[in-house]
């Protein structure tokens, strides 16, 4: 265990636990956009930065990546921290002005759009939090989504912007996307996502369409469970 101070409060924490978790466990809220409990943090959004004092040195660290250390003093709302957060939110508001999620979150934080930043007009709401990419790669295990290019041209999508042969239509990316950039649409027996339309499997018991066939085939192959056994929906199982 280590002992540290967060916003004036002395707290105990397991060594190695990240500051964000320690703060939250102690009732101190830190805003985040790219952290998700099932995924490894990447430090992409930079909203969670905090200022720490270690000995005589003060520095800004990423609380979703920085492990708690003995004797450090953490300030989650210092001027420097708030300035970073303000600009991150203003940058994102200008990046995706149509996103109500971002707008509401900024409003909650008391941050107004910076009028000097011309809002983007492409209608996209991607904030590059990469939760979809991580979920697809680390949880689902197919890597159908990724980033292309870099800098101002960086773009999220499937390779070569074509429907990905690897995509199994599981919908995890749409589910995890905080700003609804990735959406999924369904008919009774199909599902469309990431530019690809999937045939849905009807439950062999109740007849309800419950999962894309490609997803079931993928699960069967990965787990070795017979495809037959997977053709029953969760309610009938």
């Amino acid at each position: 265990m280590v002992k540290l101070v967060i916003d004036g409060k002395t707290v105990q924490a397991e060594e190695g636990k990240i500051l964000l978790t320690v703060a939250r466990e102690n009732g101190i809220e830190i805003p985040t956009l790219c952290s998700h409990e099932t995924l490894e943090n990447t430090g992409a959004c930079r909203l969670c930065v905090v200022e720490i004092t270690k000995g005589k040195r003060k520095k800004i660290v990423t609380s979703c990546l920085y492990a708690a250390e003995d004797g450090i003093v953490v300030d989650t709302k210092s001027d420097r921290v708030l300035k970073v957060r303000r600009f991150v939110m203003q940058f994102l508001m200008a990046r995706c002005p149509t996103s109500d999620v971002i707008r509401d979150m900024a409003a909650n934080m008391g941050i107004a759009p910076e009028t000097r930043f011309k809002p983007s007009e492409d209608g996209k709401t991607c904030i590059f939090c990469r939760l979809c990419v991580k979920a697809c790669e680390d949880v689902v295990g197919v890597s159908a989504l990724g980033f292309a290019f870099r800098g101002v041209d960086k773009a999220l999508g499937t390779p070569y912007r074509e429907p990905s042969p690897a995509c199994i239509g599981c919908g995890s990316c749409a589910y995890i996307c905080p700003t609804r950039q990735i959406t999924m649409s369904s008919t009774e027996n199909t599902r469309s996502i990431c530019g690809k339309t999937f045939k849905m499997k009807a439950c062999s018991v109740c007849g309800r369409y419950f999962a894309p066939e490609e997803q079931l085939a993928f699960i069967s192959k990965k787990t070795g469970v017979d495809l037959e056994a997977l053709s029953v929906c969760s309610s009938c199982r």
Binding site: T42, G43, A44, C45, R46, L47, V49, I60, V61, T62, L65, Y66, A67, R80, K83, V84, R86, F87, V88, F91, L92, A94, R95, E114, R116, F117, K118, I127, F128, R130, G146, F147, F149, R150, G151, V152, D153, K154
Partner: protein, 638 residues
């Protein structure tokens, strides 16, 4: 190449190399054949020499070497005549080749006076003096300037570039003849790994890749880190626009990098090395690959080097040329086959680097310093340069100086001595305005700091940085807002795009600068730029974003009034920003020659012959063509 596993074998190879470098009967003609000399025409000059040799049935050795440094007078041809001063000819063209050869053969040097001669030279590796001239200096040579008298070379000290332009980089024996691999022999047979690390610490060597981190301390951390396998990496990504010192070293002296890495690997306990080179450097890749093969054949890479219980090998990896891939964690990601994106550095690469193993990454020039430190000792090395920045630094001196090229100088030399001494002052006698150092995220040093000594800390204190050693000299025709905009544009495109402040923030700063340059600057922009800079520096994930606002901050620090003139006065004092300038013809100066009228692409310049001309502001697109072509100084920028 036979095996080199003893001192004796090393001596034998050195003897062979010496016979090539200092032929006793034949003339040796070498041409700098680097990417930049090839661009200046070196390849056709080389071919012309071969052609002439064949046609006239002449006997001399032809060699391609690395760069000689003085790029504005390339192609340079270097001639070694047995027992005579070593000569160099500059700006050689294909047409001049027959004359040069005839002159050299007859020792009659009147028609094409050589650029310089070298009578004797210190061999930096041994400290001994190499005498080119045996006996008395023949009269024909006395009117040729000595190299030491030429301003570009006068105050240079070639330590890491000692072999560039001297040896044939394809020939390992020539490298050995210049003291190569003796440092390695000493390290492996006379020193313990800890002693080597200590020697590097004592030398005061600091990383030449930008950060200036003490090399020996990094080595020690990596040596002490736990791991079954350890790696050493050479960073040859060199992404700074205008910088080409690492390329020059990789092209001109590849063995020195390899030797440095073997010594480092032995000291750290690494068994595998990688050299990461950008794919845009094909000649560097080729020369490094060949050198690695040669070293392997000689047993200097592979198992039981110099008969010791130490094995090490090197692979060359090609990067796709993203600037961010020069950043250590992005480089490692790229080496592992992942996208070149940096990660937070809370776990250190010396402990968890490539494939999660302890990894020591150093820059090309850093590795290049290692053999000579071991050979001559840390004391010798630390006497060069300043207390906090020891040794030398290679700078690429480009921009508005008269002399352009790579210059290696002891740390601590002043900017004035570099710009006005080595650089020969400002082109066309214009006014010096600033020098941009440290690459795209460096800063601009103004005239008032011309006497600043160059060193890691001095440059950082002045709001810039050493970076990899780029120096772009600017005169009074450069607009500082425009320059800041240029670098931010580069960084906006080269940001990896992973984190919000860097990806979104830099381009927002860029667009404010674009506004300022085109008359749309607003009250409060300067304050906003400063605020954004704070947030981007504090908020970014890696040092790319962490230093990206520097071009803006350093120009604001020294040239804020130029920003204000753009914003409030809607004028560009340097006459660069098109939307803020007007071209006008002075009636009293114009004699109606009509040159401007002929060159104007939009017919904005009009007038009758022998009558003063006029420029229609509604048609003018500020292309400058009239301004450049007018020989009567009749056109002014307002």
């Amino acid at each position: 190449m036979s095996k080199i596993n003893t001192l004796d074998a090393l001596d034998k190879a050195a003897k062979k190399g010496r016979d090539l470098l200092f032929p006793s009967t034949k003339i040796r003609i070498s041409i700098g054949m680097t990417t930049n000399s090839i661009a200046a025409g070196a390849r056709s000059v080389y071919d012309a020499f071969l052609e002439e040799k064949k046609n006239k049935n002449m006997k001399f050795d032809m060699v391609k070497t690395g760069g000689m440094g003085f790029d504005s007078v390339e192609p340079i041809v270097d001639v070694v005549i047995p027992n005579k001063p070593r000569l160099a000819f500059a700006k050689v063209t294909v047409e001049k080749v027959p004359v040069l050869l005839e002159q050299v053969a007859r020792l009659n040097l009147d028609r094409e006076l050589p650029f310089y001669r070298v009578d004797e030279q210190e061999d930096i590796f041994t400290g001994e003096t190499i005498q080119y001239v045996k006996g008395r200096l023949p009269r024909v040579f006395s009117k040729i300037s000595l190299r030491e008298e030429i301003p570009f070379y006068k105050n240079q000290l070639k330590v890491v570039t000692r072999n560039c332009g001297v040896i044939d980089p394809e020939n390992m024996e020539e490298y050995i003849a210049r003291g190569g691999y003796y440092g390695l022999h000493k390290a492996l047979t006379e020193m313990k790994p800890d002693e080597i690390v200590q020697e590097i610490i004592d030398s005061g060597l600091r990383g030449r890749g930008g950060g200036g981190f003490p090399t020996g301390i990094k080595w020690r951390s990596c040596r002490e880190a736990e791991g079954d396998i350890k790696y050493v990496i050479c960073n040859g990504d060199e992404g700074d626009p205008g910088a080409y010192m690492d390329r020059s070293l990789m092209e001109g002296d590849p063995h020195s990098i390899i030797e440095g890495m073997i010594i480092g690997a032995y000291a750290i306990g690494a068994s595998q090395g990688y050299i990461y080179v950008r794919n845009e450097y094909p000649l560097a890749v080729e020369n490094l690959n060949r050198a690695v093969m040669q070293a392997r054949k000689a047993g200097l890479l592979g198992k039981n080097i110099f008969g010791q219980k130490f094995s090490f090998d090197i692979k060359i990896a090609k990067g796709a040329g993203a600037f961010v891939c020069g950043e250590s964690t992005a480089l490692i990601a790229s080496l592992e086959g992942r996208a070149g994106e940096p990660r937070a550095k809370y776990t250190h690469t010396v402990e968890h680097g490539l494939w999660d193993m302890p990894t020591n990454l150093n820059n090309v020039e850093t590795w290049n310093n290692v053999p000579i430190i071991i050979a001559r000792g840390s004391k010798w090395f630390s006497q060069i340069g300043t207390k906090t920045s020891s040794g030398t630094k290679v700078f690429s001196l480009v921009g508005k100086t008269n002399n352009i090229g790579l210059a290696e100088v002891p740390m601590g030399m002043t900017i004035r001595d570099i710009v006005y001494g080595i650089g020969g002052g400002i082109y066309n006698d214009r006014e010096f305005k600033a020098v941009q150092t440290g690459g795209p995220s460096g800063g601009c040093i103004p005239k008032s700091l011309l006497d600043l000594p160059v060193g890691f800390d001095e440059l950082a204190d002045a709001g810039s940085m050493m970076g990899s050693g780029g120096m772009i000299v600017m005169d009074d025709t450069t607009c500082m807002v425009d320059i800041a905009k240029y670098f931010l544009d580069f960084l906006a495109k080269e940001s990896c795009g992973k984190c919000t402040p860097c990806r979104e923030g830099i381009r927002r700063m860029r667009s404010i600068l674009e506004d300022i340059c085109s008359g749309g600057g607003q009250e409060g922009d300067i304050e906003l730029l400063k605020e954004m800079s704070d947030a981007i520096i504090d908020g970014s994930l890696c040092a790319l974003g962490g230093s990206a606002p520097s071009p803006v901050l350093s120009t604001l620090r020294y040239f804020q009034e130029e920003y204000e003139t753009h914003i409030k006065g809607k004028k560009c004092p340097a006459g660069v920003c098109k939307k803020l300038i007007k071209f006008r013809i002075l009636d009293e100066q114009c004699n109606g020659c009509g040159k401007c009228r002929k060159v104007c692409p939009t017919r904005a310049a009009t007038g009758s012959r022998r009558e003063p001309h006029k420029i229609d502001q509604n048609l003018c697109i500020q292309c400058r063509a009239c301004y450049e072509v007018c020989t009567f100084n009749a056109i002014i920028i307002e």
